[in-house]
Amino acid sequence: MATIVAQNSPQVQSPRSPQSQNMLFLTVSVMDPDKRGTGVQAYMSYPVITKTNLPDYKGPEITVERRYSDFVWLRDRLFEKYKGIFIPPVPEKSAVEKFRFSAEFIDMRRQGLNVYINRIASHPELRQSEDLKTFLQEDGETMERLRFQETGIFNRKPSDLIQIFKDVQSKVSDVVLGKEKPVEETTPEYEKLKRYIYELEDHLAEAQKQAYRMVKRHKELGQSLLDFGKAIKLLGACEGESLGKAFSELGTKSESLSHKFEDEARNLLMNFEEPLKDYVHDVQSIKATMVERANAFKLKCELSETTKLKEINLEKLMLVRSDKVGEAEIEYRKLNTESEEATRRFELIVKLMDEEMVRFQEEKTTDLGLAFHEFAKGQAKLGKDIATAWRSLLPKIEACSVSSH
C-alpha cells in the first residue's frame, strides 16, 4: 500500500501545471501520514514536501508536517483575503468517526489534500499568497500558534465549521435568492449565472450520488461472486471426476474475480466519485463567493445611498446653516470615500469572479474529462479481466464435455 501511494503522490494533481510558465515552479506533495497522539486526541500528520524555484521560498525543497486542521486554516485565511476568488474546497472530514483511521479513507484523504494544495499552488493569485508560504514553510509550533490565533468563527474546531458552513449555506440561499429583500444585483447575466450555479449543484449532486452507488454496487457484486464461488466449489465436491473439477475451477475463478470488482470499486471511489464530489464542493465554493459578492453589493448600494442623502443634506445646510457645513462636509467626504472604496471592492469581486468562472469552466472540463477517462479505463479493464478469467475455463469445460460422451 505504502509503496503505491509513494509512487503516486509526488505528482502535481492540478492540470494547470506551473512548470510550463516561465520555468518558475511550485509543486507540493502530500505524503503518507503518520498517526499522532492517542484516543480522541489522535490525528494524522501529513508530511508536506514543497519543491520550488520561487525566490520567496527558503530553498528548493522544504518538508513540513501538517495536520488536517492546518489545511482548513489555509482555506479560511484565503477565503477571507481573496474575495471573488473561488477557493478550492478542503476534502471532507470523514462523516463516520470509525472510518477516520481506515487505510482506505486515509489514502483518499491524502490524495484529496494533495489535489487541494496543488490547486492553490497553481492558482495564479493564490499561489502568491503569504498564507500559502507560511503553510508550506513554517514549523509545526508556528503553525499551531497561527491556528489558535485566528479570531472570529474560524477559531473554532473543524467540527463546528460544519455547522457554520451550514449557516453560511442557508444565509447564501437567503441572500442570493433574495429572501432578506436586500438590495440586489439584477443584471440578466448575473441572474443567469446564479441560476446556472444553483441548478448545476443539483445535477452534480445527483451524478455524484449515482457514482457513489456504483462504488457500492461493485463491492456488492464482488461479494456475491465470492459467495457464489464458495457455494459452487462445494457443489462441485458432490460431483465426481472432471465435472467436479470444472465446478471447482469455476468457483475459484468466481472468487478471484471478486477481487477485481473490489479493485474497481476502489478505483471508482478515488478517480471517479471523488472528482465529482470535488466538483460539487467547487460549486459550493462559488456559492460562498456569491454571498461575498452580494454582501459587497449591498454595502456598496447602502453607502452610495447614504452618501447621496448626506450630499442633499449638505446642500441644504449650505443654504440654511453655514456653521455646520464644515462638519457635514467632512462627514460627507469620509462617506464618499468609503462608498467609492465599497464600489471598487465590489467591482474587483465582479472582475475576479468573471475571470474565475472562465478558469473554473476550463478546469472542470479537464477534471471531468480525466475522471471520465479513469472511469472508462477502469471499466474496460474490469471487463477485459472478467472475459479473460472466464475464457480460461472454456477449454476445461470442453474437456469435460468430451469425456462425458
Binding site: K209, L221, S224, Q361, W390, R391
Partner: protein, 625 residues
C-alpha cells in the same frame, strides 16, 4: 427413515427462479428481463415513453423500439420536449467551437467501430438478428419481450436447446444454433446435443385462463379457473381444458402408479383459492407453473408414455382417471389394510380408503400428505412394530450423497440468486448514472454561459452513452445468467422428487416387513390353536373354525406379502434406473449450465469492455503528460 428436515425444501422448489426472483425484487425496479425466456407476459405500459425518448436521444440516429426495462421507478426528470433537443447540432458546434482546447474525434457516440467476426478475440458475433429467445408463441407480445433493434447492442446469447425445458425449446432455437455456429472458437462449446428423449409430446403450452361458474353446487356460488392445454405431437395437436384440481388428480394418480420414479413435483396449491384467485398475476403464475410442470412430465421417460398423462393431455371433457390404475398397488392398498381390519381397526381403514378415493377433492397438497405420512410413521411403527431395516448399504450411501447434493444445491441456488441480484443492481445503477449524466448534458447545453461547456457536454454525453450501453449489456447478461443458473433451481426441485421416490421405497419395505411380522404372529397363533384343539378328541368346533379362518387370513396375507415384495423390488429397480438417469442427465445439464454461464459471462464482459475502451480512447486527451 424420514429425512429430518422434510419441510424446508418445500419453500425452495415452489420458488424456482421466477418466483424467487419476483419475491426478491418485489417492490423495486425490476426489469423482468427473464420474460425473454419465460414468456412472462407483461402488459405494455406508457411509462416507458420518457425513457424511450432519452434512449433515442442517446443513441442518435438509430430508430429504436427497444425499451429499457420496466421503469417502475420514475426516471430522472426528463422534460417532455426531450426529443426536440437537437443534440447533434450542439455536438457539431462543440466540435467547431473556436474556444475548444480539446480535440474531439468524430468517431464517437453514434456507433461502435464495426466488429468483424474474423477478430479471433471476439467471442460473439455482432451480426444483427432477431433474438432467438423471443418466443413466437407468446400470447402477449409486449415491448419488453422485443430485442434491442439496433445492431451494436444485439447479439445472440448462447443457449442450448435442451437446457431445462427439454423439447419445448428446440423448435425455436434452431435459428440460434445456426447463428452461433458462425462464431469463431466457440462453436464446439455450444454444439447442440440431440434432444435427450424423443418425447412424443413436442410442445405443451398452457394458456387462456378462464373463469368458470361451478354448476355442480347450486347452493353456494363458486368459481374456478380452467386453462387451455395445447399439446402438439408429431402428427396432431390436442386441446383440452383443465382446472387445477385435475392436475392434482393427475399427480396423485401418477404417484400411485409410478412409485419409485422421480416424478416431477407438481406446483404447490399456493394460496387459499377465494382470497387470491381473482388476481391476474396469481393465475398467470400458476399458468406458468403448470406449463413447466407438464413439460417436465412430458420429458420423463416413463411418465411420458403413461396412460394418465395421455388421458390428461388428449381426452377432452371431464377428467376420467381411474382411481388406481396399477393392479399391484391396489392390491397392496388392500393388503396393508387387511391386517388392520383383522385387528379390529376397520373403521379407520375405511376412512382412509375414502380419503384416498378422492384425493383431489379435499384439496390436499403434497406437503400435507408428506406430513401425514411422517406422522403415521411415528404413530404406528415406532413402538411395538419392528422399525424399517434397510440393509442395502449402497442405497444408504446413495441416499446420503443425494442429501449432501441437496444441501449444496440449496446453498448454490441461493448464492446464484444473490449473484443475479447483484448484477441486476449494477445494471440499474449504471443506467441511473447514465441518466444523471444525460440530464447534466442537457443542462449544460441549455444553460450556456461559456463555449467550453459545449465541449464538456460532449464528454458528459459520451460517458452517459457508454453507461447506458453497458447497462443494457449487464441487463442481457443478467437474464442469461438467470437462465443458466436456473438449472440449480431445477435440480433442487428434482431433489424433492427423489425424496418422494425414496420414501416410496421405504414405505414398500415397511409394508413387506409389517406383513412378514403379521404373518409370523398369525402362524404362531394358528399353531397354538392347533395344539390346543388337538388335545380335545374330535376337535373343538369353534377352535377348528378359528383355525380355518386363520389359515384363510394367512393365505391372504401371504399373497399380499408376495405382492408387496414384488412391489418393493419393482420400486427398488425404479429407484436405481432413475438414479442412473439422473446422474447422466445431471452431468449434461450441469455442463450445459457451466458452458452457458461462462460463455455469456465472457461474451458480455467483452462487449462491455469494448464500450468502455472506446470511451476511454475518446477521453484520452485528458490524461496528463
Amino acid at each position: 427413515m424420514y429425512w429430518a428436515n422434510s419441510d424446508w425444501a418445500w419453500d425452495k422448489i415452489e420458488g424456482d427462479f421466477l418466483t424467487c426472483y419476483l419475491r426478491v425484487t418485489a417492490g423495486k425496479c425490476n426489469p423482468l428481463s427473464f420474460s425473454r425466456h419465460r414468456n412472462f407476459p407483461i402488459s405494455s405500459d406508457s411509462e416507458i415513453s420518457s425513457k424511450e425518448k432519452t434512449e433515442k436521444m442517446m443513441m442518435g440516429s438509430e430508430t429504436t423500439e427497444h425499451t429499457f426495462g420496466t421503469p417502475q421507478k420514475s426516471p430522472p426528470s426528463l422534460p417532455e420536449d426531450m426529443e426536440t433537443l437537437n443534440l447533434s447540432d450542439v455536438y457539431k458546434s462543440a466540435i467547431s467551437s473556436p474556444s475548444s482546447s480539446v480535440t474531439i474525434t468524430n468517431s464517437s457516440i453514434h456507433s461502435l467501430p464495426p466488429i468483424t467476426t474474423s477478430d479471433p478475440h471476439l467471442l460473439i458475433s455482432t451480426q444483427p438478428q432477431s433474438s432467438p429467445l423471443r418466443n413466437p408463441k407468446s400470447p402477449n407480445s409486449s415491448p419488453f419481450l422485443d430485442p434491442p433493434s439496433y445492431a451494436d447492442v444485439v447479439f445472440s446469447p448462447f443457449h442450448n436447446s435442451n437446457n431445462d425445458n427439454g423439447n419445448s425449446d428446440s423448435v425455436e432455437s434452431s435459428s440460434a444454433s445456426s447463428s452461433t455456429s458462425t462464431v469463431l472458437g466457440i462453436t464446439s462449446y455450444i454444439s447442440e446435443r440431440p434432444p435427450r428423449s424423443s418425447s412424443i409430446y413436442r410442445e405443451i403450452s398452457v394458456s387462456d385462463p378462464r373463469k368458470v361458474q361451478d354448476s355442480s353446487n347450486t347452493l353456494v356460488t363458486s368459481t374456478y379457473v380452467t386453462y387451455l392445454i395445447s399439446t402438439r405431437t408429431s402428427d396432431t395437436e390436442y386441446k383440452v381444458r383443465r382446472r387445477f384440481r385435475d392436475v392434482v388428480t393427475l399427480s396423485d394418480r401418477l404417484a400411485e402408479a409410478y412409485r419409485g420414479f422421480f416424478i416431477p413435483v407438481r406446483p404447490d396449491k399456493g394460496v387459499v383459492e377465494g382470497q387470491i384467485m381473482q388476481q391476474q398475476d396469481f393465475i398467470n403464475q400458476r399458468r406458468l407453473a403448470l406449463e413447466k410442470y407438464l413439460r417436465r412430465l412430458s420429458v420423463h421417460p416413463a411418465i411420458e408414455k403413461s396412460r394418465e398423462l395421455g388421458i390428461f393431455l388428449q381426452v377432452d371433457g371431464k377428467l376420467q382417471l381411474p382411481m388406481t390404475t396399477d393392479v399391484a398397488s391396489r392390491m397392496l392398498d388392500g393388503a396393508v389394510r387387511l391386517p388392520k381390519q383383522l385387528f379390529g381397526e376397520v373403521r379407520e381403514g375405511c376412512v382412509a380408503q375414502n380419503e384416498v378415493a378422492q384425493p383431489a377433492k379435499g384439496g390436499r397438497d403434497l406437503l400435507r400428505i408428506f406430513k401425514e405420512l411422517k406422522q403415521s410413521m411415528t404413530n404406528d411403527w415406532s413402538g411395538t412394530k419392528p422399525s424399517v431395516i434397510e440393509e442395502d448399504k449402497q442405497f444408504l450411501e446413495m441416499k446420503e450423497k443425494v442429501q449432501d447434493l441437496e444441501q449444496q444445491l440449496s446453498t448454490s441456488s441461493q448464492q446464484a440468486e444473490g449473484l443475479v441480484k447483484a448484477q441486476q443492481d449494477i445494471c440499474e445503477t449504471m443506467r441511473d448514472l447514465g441518466f444523471a449524466f444525460v440530464n447534466l448534458t442537457k443542462f449544460e447545453t441549455e444553460n450556456t454561459l461559456d463555449d467550453i461547456q459545449k465541449v464538456r457536454a460532449v464528454e458528459i454525453r459520451r460517458v452517459a452513452t457508454a453507461s447506458v450501453k453497458a447497462s443494457r449489456f449487464y441487463q442481457e447478461l443478467t437474464s442469461q445468467t438467470m437462465k443458466y443458473l436456473d438449472t440449480l433451481h431445477e435440480y433442487l426441485g428434482k431433489m424433492l422428487a427423489i425424496r418422494v421416490a425414496f420414501s416410496d421405497r421405504t414405505n414398500a419395505l415397511l409394508t413387506v416387513q409389517t406383513l412378514l411380522s403379521d404373518l409370523n404372529s398369525f402362524q404362531l397363533k394358528a399353531e397354538k390353536l392347533k395344539a390346543a384343539s388337538s388335545k380335545i378328541f374330535g376337535g373343538d368346533r369353534s377352535r377348528l373354525r378359528k383355525v380355518e379362518e386363520l389359515k384363510e387370513t394367512i393365505r391372504i396375507t401371504e399373497d399380499a406379502k408376495k405382492v408387496a415384495l414384488e412391489e418393493y423390488e419393482r420400486i427398488k429397480e425404479n429407484n436405481s434406473t432413475e438414479l442412473e438417469r439422473l446422474g447422466r442427465e445431471k452431468k449434461d445439464d450441469f455442463l450445459d449450465m457451466l458452458k452457458g454461464f461462462v460463455v455469456n459471462q465472457v461474451g458480455y464482459a467483452e462487449r462491455i469492455a469494448l464500450v468502455w475502451e472506446q470511451a476511454a480512447q475518446e477521453t484520452s486527451v485528458y490524461v496528463k503528460q
